[in-house]
């Protein structure tokens, strides 16, 4: 049932990747949590480079350390061993130019949607605020929330709240966007729509994105590369290039090439013995 209008198949060699420099580099990163019950090795020997403007997914089962990697990138956690560098500089606390979207939207109930999106503007140079106000409105309109700016978070659905959280993350024009299973709590229809929205936003702004998910189709649809992670201890099993042409649509998921990549990733998980993520 191949759609005639499906995107053309291109051989891997024909895909040109912009020769971008490394935005983020993790070298030999390890993270051990010490507790009364013993030590827990969350991450072991993580070596990873994320290029500028790249969309990279971290894919793996619960407990494989993908959230820990993100938190180390965000400077929210210190690493036990190894180095984390953003634009060549070691990370010691949250670096500049960072936008984070968490699993739950973490919108503040006592603020309107608009004031929530404006939150990042309140830290730092106050003179930017007038410009950022119009940008906040523009972002909200871009994700279809223009009419809800003066509402409160509890008046919105889960998908709308997460959209607002994405606007907030984009407000300060971050160069590095970290997203921790942002669509995990949403239903499939909302998820599909937000995947397309996110791809569109990324294509327009070309930010570097590190995206955590445990959905194989979502990872393949959105990413330039997928980092397959395993657990016990948390480590990188394999990094897979996704050579499907852009812009990808929901129809892309039905193509033969998509199924091939999906099968390849699934076999990696089976080989690791962890089953599907």
């Amino acid at each position: 049932m191949l759609d005639v209008a499906e995107p053309p198949v291109t051989a891997p060699a024909a895909v040109t990747r912009p020769a971008a420099r490394a935005h983020v580099r993790l070298s030999g990163v390890g993270k051990v949590y010490h507790s009364m019950n013993g030590d827990l090795t969350a991450l072991s020997d993580i070596n990873l480079e994320i290029r500028e403007g790249e969309f990279l997914s971290l894919l793996g089962p619960s407990g494989c350390g993908k959230s820990t990697v993100l938190r180390c990138l965000a400077g929210l956690e210190d690493v036990t061993s190894g180095k984390v560098e953003v634009l060549g500089r070691p990370v010691a606390g949250p670096p500049e130019g960072l936008g984070v979207v968490f699993q739950r939207d973490v919108l503040l109930d006592w603020r309107t949607v608009f004031d929530n999106v404006m939150l990042p503007a309140e830290f730092g140079d106050k003179s930017r605020i007038p410009n950022l106000r119009s940008k906040a409105m523009h972002l909200l309109q871009m994700v279809g929330l223009g009419g809800y700016a003066q509402r409160h978070p509890w008046e919105l659905s889960g998908g709308m709240r997460q959209r607002a959280a994405i606007c907030r993350a984009l407000l300060d024009d971050p160069s590095l966007l970290l997203m921790d299973e942002p669509f995990g709590a949403l239903d499939e229809f909302t998820r599909d729509q937000l995947n397309l929205d996110l791809q569109r936003i990324w294509a327009e702004t070309r930010k570097t994105v590190a995206f955590i998910t445990h959905s194989i189709p979502e990872a393949i649809l959105l990413s330039d590369r997928v980092v397959v992670m395993a657990r016990a201890p948390g480590r990188i099993a394999e990094i897979i290039d996704i050579d499907l042409p852009r812009a990808r649509t929901l129809a892309t998921r039905e193509t033969r090439e998509f199924a091939q990549v999906s099968a390849r990733i699934r076999s990696i998980f089976e080989r690791l013995g962890t089953g599907t993520p």
Binding site: L108, F123, G144
Partner: protein
Amino acid sequence: MAKAPAPSNLERGLRRLRKSATQTFYLLATLAVLLLAWEAACHIFSIGAYLLPKPSDVIKTIADDPVFLLRHGLVTSMATIAGFVLATAVGILIAIIIVYSPFLEKTLFTALVAFNAIPKIAIAPLFIMWIGTGLESKVLMAFLIAIFPIIVDTVMGLRSIDPAQLDLVRTYRASQVQTFFKIRFPNALPSIFAGMKVGITLALIGTIVGEFVGANRGLGFVILQAQGTYQTPLVFAAIAMLSILGVILFNAIDLAERLALPWHVSNRGKRGK
């Protein structure tokens, strides 16, 4: 995307008004039935007025000189409110100190718990001796009794923060002060108001205790005096006045909470309304 029609504030206000009017009606009706039963019982059992006066006697006493009760009621109110406001201000400050300084938590908080264990009623005579029978001693009593629940609830509120919210502002490299005003304090407000509701009730009790122990004004003083001269209807009248005062004060805090926290779960009402 279609815009959901928002109920106007007027609609919401009218609905709430109708709801509270219905509740008030049932309350008053129940009260009226009880008063009638009380009046009937006094007649039937010929209870002496000095033991249990009839409601009609009490109302007559109030009507004879309403200004008298209002004047003393005002004194009690002022002491209560002053003690409460002080307890809130100082209590919140102490709570902030406790949350931000582990050392002071161990020392100050422990001392507070120990001090709170002493029944203030027992040490009230001491304060009267030191400070006198004026308004100050009542304010002090109200303050001392009301402050503890405010501290405890504020500390709990300041500590019960969603870690994700703290992570969020850390990614903006927020200072401790910014984190406090933008995240901790708004989160703590529901708990603080809960503490304040308990606090205002206790402040009133503190004032009355002070007026019992040594005073020449206030509703507590009136009760004691009237009891000593077997003017039991006046005692009841003063108690009735106190109840009304307590209800007004509590509802004032409740109203303040609903105005300050329209976003809180308890004040949202049903979705779509």
